[in-house]
């Protein structure tokens, strides 16, 4: 029977939740990295026991952690204690330096700051880690201030794709409330040179040449709260999801609006339909039904909690526009938590499991595509991210 491993990043550490395929009884391990913010953890599709975690702190900066045994033990790649002076190893697993070299990089460009002035790029943290689909030692990192890095040595060293930051539209990118973060990385399973990324608040971008050059893919997005609502860049994209069986179809939760693209992001149209509010952060796609999508509507940009105090996931079985609320097992009164952008995930069992975490510390699981839910845990620190591994 298959097993499930749910990787949960929180404001104060990481947790690993494990179950068999019934998804009824769960073993909870953690906290790992207690006291540190874990923005994201994710396992390698090529080796499910290889996990990566982004550990950060306002005091001590960024640390990358790696596990080779499914999360039982962790190490900082290249950071093992040394017996004494000399023999200094690289120890650069937490070194994220923008590539400004004349040979391979771009000058240290500027972006728009909150007050409208230009501001140089400054590294703050890793928001998202996306392991390669084929190589356990290759992993991509989306960082704040927005840029894409890659490691090909298991997280020991990191190198920027400077063509994204240096694309030329950088002076029009600006930070959202959470900072100017590259939070979404989607690797195209059918084309190893195609990568989709999203930045708050710049928008979505795509490379078709393995990361050397990038183009904005924001046509069709309308953001009335920016000076030019249909601008090429400047949109606050919150998250994008794809079903791997249909990589040219993308679903987006924007700051406001749920959007859909059928041409790999070249154009988008709105599919918010009958949602009670189309503001939100999280969005995901059913593992086996590419027209079934999930969102967690949030009241507004000023009130980051569910409308009417009722925590509801909405499901569309028609690729958008027609949505049904899923409420069984979720609090339907006095609930004022948020579901953050990386805090929803699906497993690949049949039937598909749907998971999400809240800023109130609950992690909910559904073993029947969202029809019914129960909390795996109720009282973790605020949940920042949820990922699921379906193990043999």
């Amino acid at each position: 029977m298959s097993k499930l491993r749910v990787l949960v990043g929180t404001r104060k550490g990481a947790f690993v939740l494990e179950s068999d395929g019934k998804r009824e009884q769960w073993k909870v391990s953690g906290p790992y990295f207690a006291g540190w913010e874990i923005y994201h953890m994710k396992g390698s599709p090529a080796d499910p026991n290889r996990l990566y975690a982004s550990q950060s702190s306002g005091w001590f900066g960024q640390v990358i952690q790696r596990s080779s045994d499914g999360g039982k033990t962790w190490e900082t790649p290249g950071g093992e204690p040394q017996p004494g002076p000399g023999g200094m190893p690289a120890g650069q697993s937490n070194k994220f330096v923008y590539d400004t070299s004349a040979e391979t990089g771009k000058p240290l460009t500027t972006h728009q700051f909150y007050d409208g002035t230009q501001h140089p790029w400054e590294f703050k943290r890793v928001w998202h880690l996306e392991p390669s689909l084929t190589d356990p030692d290759t992993v991509y990192a989306g960082v704040e201030d927005a840029a894409l890095f890659r490691s090909t040595d298991g997280g020991t060293s990191w190198h920027e794709f400077p063509g994204l930051r240096g694309h030329g539209t950088g002076p029009r990118w600006q930070p959202g409330a959470g900072g100017m973060c590259l939070h979404t990385i989607i690797l195209d399973p059918g084309d190893p040179k195609r990568i989709f990324i999203a930045i708050s608040a710049a928008g979505a971008f795509r490379t078709d040449d393995g990361g050397q050059t990038w183009k904005p893919i924001n046509r069709g997005l309308i953001s009335p709260y920016i000076p030019e609502p249909t601008a090429e860049v400047g949109h606050c994209v919150h998250h994008i999801a794809m079903n791997p069986s249909r990589p040219s179809v993308l679903f987006m939760q924007k700051h406001w609006d749920v959007m859909r693209s059928d041409d790999a992001g070249d154009s988008w149209h709105e599919v918010s339909g009958n949602l009670p509010t189309d503001f939100g952060f999280a969005i995901d796609v059913h593992a086996h039904e590419p027209e079934t999508i999930y969102v967690a509507p949030i009241k507004s940009d000023g009130e980051h909690y569910p409308p009417e105090g009722k925590l509801r996931v909405y499901r569309s079985r028609t690729g958008g526009n027609e949505w049904e609320p899923l409420t069984k097992g979720l609090p339907q009164s006095n609930c004022y938590v948020n579901v953050l952008r990386d805090a929803m995930a699906v497993d690949s069992l049949d039937s598909c499991g749907v998971y999400f975490g809240t800023t109130g510390g609950q992690v909910y699981a559904s073993a029947d595509a969202g029809d019914n839910r129960a909390p795996i845990v109720r009282d973790l620190p605020a949940v920042l991210s949820v990922e699921v591994q379906t193990l043999p």
Binding site: F33, A34, G35, W36, S57, G58, W59, F60, G61, Q62, V63, T76, G78, G79, E80, P81, Q82, P83, G84, P85, G86, M88, P89, A90, G91, Q92, S93, N94, K95, V97
Partner: protein
């Protein structure tokens, strides 16, 4: 032998107890002590001072002998009692909630 005390989160990261003993060759300064510390515990690189600029991270301070040494030159000699091992160099995180 130089004694260094780390804040709790860095002790966890480096998997060490409260106080670390280091051998430092040459003049005992903030820079030479941190160089020795990071050579022995590479996972601490970037957590106390910036990888590139080598500037102290803004929410950390250095104290010894009841003195704030945070704003001293990184190449200034540390107090004799730190150099002799009588007193530790304290690396302290700002008390800023969280």
């Amino acid at each position: 032998m130089i004694r260094v005390e780390l804040p709790a989160h860095l002790r966890t990261l480096a998997q060490v107890s409260r106080e670390i003993n280091l051998d430092v060759e040459g003049p005992v300064t903030q820079r030479s002590v941190l160089d020795a510390l990071e050579a022995r515990y590479p996972m601490l690189r970037g957590t106390i001072r910036d990888h590139v600029t080598q500037q102290r991270r803004p929410f950390l301070r250095f104290f010894a002998c009841e003195e704030d040494l945070s704003h001293e030159s990184p190449d200034a000699p540390l107090p004799d009692s730190v150099a002799s091992g009588a007193e530790p160099l304290l690396i302290i995180g700002a008390i800023a909630g969280g």
